[in-house]
Amino acid sequence: MTVSSLRDSPLVRRFFRDGEFTLILITGAFFLVLLAGSIGLRTEAAFFPRIIGVAGIVLVAVLVIQYMAKSVDSVSTRPAEDADNTSAASAGGDAVHDESPDPGSGQIMPILAAPAYAVLLVVFGFYIAAGTVIAALPWLLGYRRLYFLIGLAIGTVAALHICFSVLLNIPIPAGIVGDWYLRNFVYLD
């Protein structure tokens, strides 16, 4: 068995292109960091992290075995199937795998929407960030009633302003641009 044949085997491809296995690896890495970080701590502070770290690694090993058993079984019963094809998810049970050839299609924009909003929030503040997201995101997702979206954005931002700023007296982030504007044009000494 050569390295390239091993790399191209359905089993290996499934392992490394399957999100569930990646998550199991991430979980294992977390518990390893927990164990490694307990080195150098005093006994009382290190005791629980070590217990949880060891227990976590045992659990990850069980999950890996379960996953391998499931994958070997599905590869052996469906040898002609592409490794990226999925099995249907039962309610609350088995993992969901992407059916499309490109697992990321349709998910990139939703996943990036929240970080993009956070960047807008920090730079421009709540009012501009929230208004932009509420108006633009549905448009990008295929909803084409622009005036409705603009009205919805204005109404939602106004309602949240009243709820948080006015009623609950909780400050709303003004953002870097907003802070600069307030310092230079509003709060003049």
């Binding site: 999100g19 569930e20 998550l23 977390f30 518990f31 927990l34 005093r42 009382e44 502070a45 629980f48 992290p49 949880i52 770290g53 976590g56 659990l59 990850v60 069980v62 999950l63 379960q66 996953y67 058993a69 499931k70 079984d73 599905s74 998810a89 309610a91 609350g92 049970g93 088995d94 993992a95 969901v96 349709g106 998910q107 924009m109 939703p110 996943i111 929407a113 929240a114 970080p115 909003y117 956070a118 929030l121 920090v122 929230a130 997201v133 509420i134 995101l137 549905p138 997702l141 295929g142 909803y143 979206l149 919805l152 939602t156 949240l160 948080f164 609950l168 909780i170 400050p171 982030p173």
Partner: protein
């Protein structure tokens, strides 16, 4: 009878009625919004109560507490985002019911179960504080440790998912709780010299990220509407009547919720999962749990509302708060120069009994308001996800920011949100991470305190009956599915292949 007469006389002032109505209205809206819970609402309103008389101040805060305990289930059911940690278990069956178009029925179940829980809780508070308190006082650090472990195991075994995934997620949550300054000896752990991590992760940010942000991403990926076909079926009264078809589940949840809720510091977070777990095991149709079983809503909702009043038992009688919100109520009492304790019942019966009757009235009020708002709440499930998701994203993250006015909390919520999306996609139960974060510190501190009590001997964990019992139940919950599987495999070898292809579910 004295309680009712004295309490009603104290309550008859229109100002008290006004503040109960206002508190319930605020509590319902605050409780339904992810990120804002009764702790935030009562903490913000507390300064305003300085200028009020003691009874209306207490009634306002308690009404918010009681109504928000019910309203947390609204976002759990409609959006799969718990309004607060004590409503997390309601997501398991409430949201599947909403996806089937039965949102009104689910809200009706939640409303009636919460109402009964609140009424029973008030009755126990008024007439049964003594015995409940005696039981709660038996809890030493060893019992707290055992209860925290039981809570974590109960969360892992709740629903129909993979036990080992559940335990791993709880382990991650407990691991995250180690970040920051150690509660036992005060040394920093896993801070990597970052100032933000000295305080540990903000639990609200983690919870909103794992539940709300991940759900928003899922909604934008799936498109469509929450309710299948955008059609609502059933009605509120079907749900309200259905509660009475499960008397055993209701009684069990009320009892457990009251007892666990009276234990300071643990309360509703543990109670709703323990009750959900027990209800599933008691049910004649446990396979229906996780798919919209009515008992899956009745158990957590009746218990968490019973916990509201039960958590006030140690607060009013001993001055020990049952949770964060009851701690704020205690602060309100002390601000007005009133000392909690058994003398409170004899020196100021008008205040105490008026408070009890007021809680009773608040329960009736949130039932009526909740019923009136149900149709409007349920319509949320017919809104297109492309419109609902951005609104939910913005609302949730401003709630995260509101807690400490920190942009870092917003980023943490988003990181956990993306992580949570992938976890949900591959059937890892994200609720375990939140509960691990909540119960991890309690478990560690209690464990070390218990060892200090015995000079380092572990015998305290098996010599005390309550502790040993709870740890034994936890072990049984973990080992029973494995034992059952091995037994089934041993009895019918031909079925081994079928079980190994079933995806490793440990239920």
């Amino acid at each position: 009878m004295d309680i009712i007469i004295i309490g009603s006389q104290a309550l008859l002032d229109p100002v008290n009625i006004f503040f109960i109505l206002g508190g319930v209205f605020v509590g319902i809206w605050i409780g339904a919004l992810p990120g804002l819970g009764p702790v935030t609402a009562t903490a913000v309103i507390l300064p305003f109560t300085l200028y009020m008389e003691p009874l209306p101040a207490l009634l306002l805060l308690a009404s918010i507490y009681s109504a928000s305990a019910y309203a947390g289930s609204v976002s759990s059911i409609l959006l799969n985002v718990p309004g607060e940690a004590t409503s997390a278990a309601t997501c398991f069956d409430g949201h599947p019911m909403a996806r089937q178009g039965r949102a009104k029925e689910a809200l009706g179940l939640s409303l009636m179960a919460s109402f009964i829980g609140a009424i029973v809780g008030v009755l126990v508070l008024a007439y049964g504080s003594g015995p409940v308190l005696q039981f709660a006082l038996r809890f030493s650090p060893a019992e707290y440790f055992a209860l925290a472990i039981l809570g974590l195991v109960a969360i892992s075994t709740a629903g129909t998912g993979n036990l080992y995934k559940g335990l791993a997620m709880c382990g991650i949550g407990v691991g995250i709780s180690f970040i920051g300054v150690d509660s036992v000896i005060g040394v920093p752990r896993y801070t990597f010299d970052l100032i933000y991590l000295q305080r540990g992760f903000n639990m609200i940010a983690v919870m909103i990220g794992l539940f709300a942000v991940s759900e928003v991403i899922g909604m934008m990926v799936q498109r469509g509407r929450i309710a299948e076909g955008g059609i609502l079926k059933g009605n509120l009264w079907q749900g309200i009547r259905a509660v009475f078809h499960y008397p055993k589940t209701l009684l069990m949840s009320l009892g457990l919720g009251t007892v666990i809720g009276a234990i300071p510091g643990v309360g509703g977070t543990t109670a709703n999962f323990v009750c959900y777990n027990v209800a599933q095991r008691m049910s004649r149709t446990p396979e229906e749990f996780g798919k919209g079983a009515p008992e899956g809503i009745i158990a957590p909702e009746s218990s968490n509302n019973a916990c509201v009043s039960a958590s006030l038992i140690p607060a009013l009688t001993l001055g020990i708060p049952g949770g964060a919100t009851s701690a704020i109520l205690l602060v309100a009492l002390m601000i007005h120069g009133i000392r909690p304790g058994t003398m409170l019942f004899t020196t100021d019966p008008g205040l105490v009994y008026g408070f009890f009757v007021g809680l009773f009235f608040a329960a009736i009020t949130f039932f009526v308001m909740g019923a009136a708002m149900t149709n409007w709440f349920a319509r949320i499930t017919t809104i297109r996800n492309e419109i609902l998701a951005p609104i939910l994203l913005v609302t949730s993250l401003i709630g995260v920011y509101a807690y400490q006015q920190s942009n870092m909390d917003v980023f943490i919520a988003i990181v956990f949100g993306v992580f949570g999306y992938f976890l949900k996609k591959y059937s890892f139960p994200v609720v375990g991470i939140v509960m691990g974060l909540v119960l991890g510190d309690l478990a560690e501190v209690s464990f070390h305190q218990a060892l200090m009590m015995t000079g380092g001997s572990y015998s305290i964990f098996y010599e005390r009956p309550l502790t040993a019992g709870m740890l034994a139940i936890s072990a049984m919950l973990i080992l029973w599915p494995l034992v059952r599987r091995l037994y089934s495999a041993a009895r019918s070898p031909a079925s081994v292949g079928k079980h190994s292809r079933a995806g490793g579910s440990a239920q």
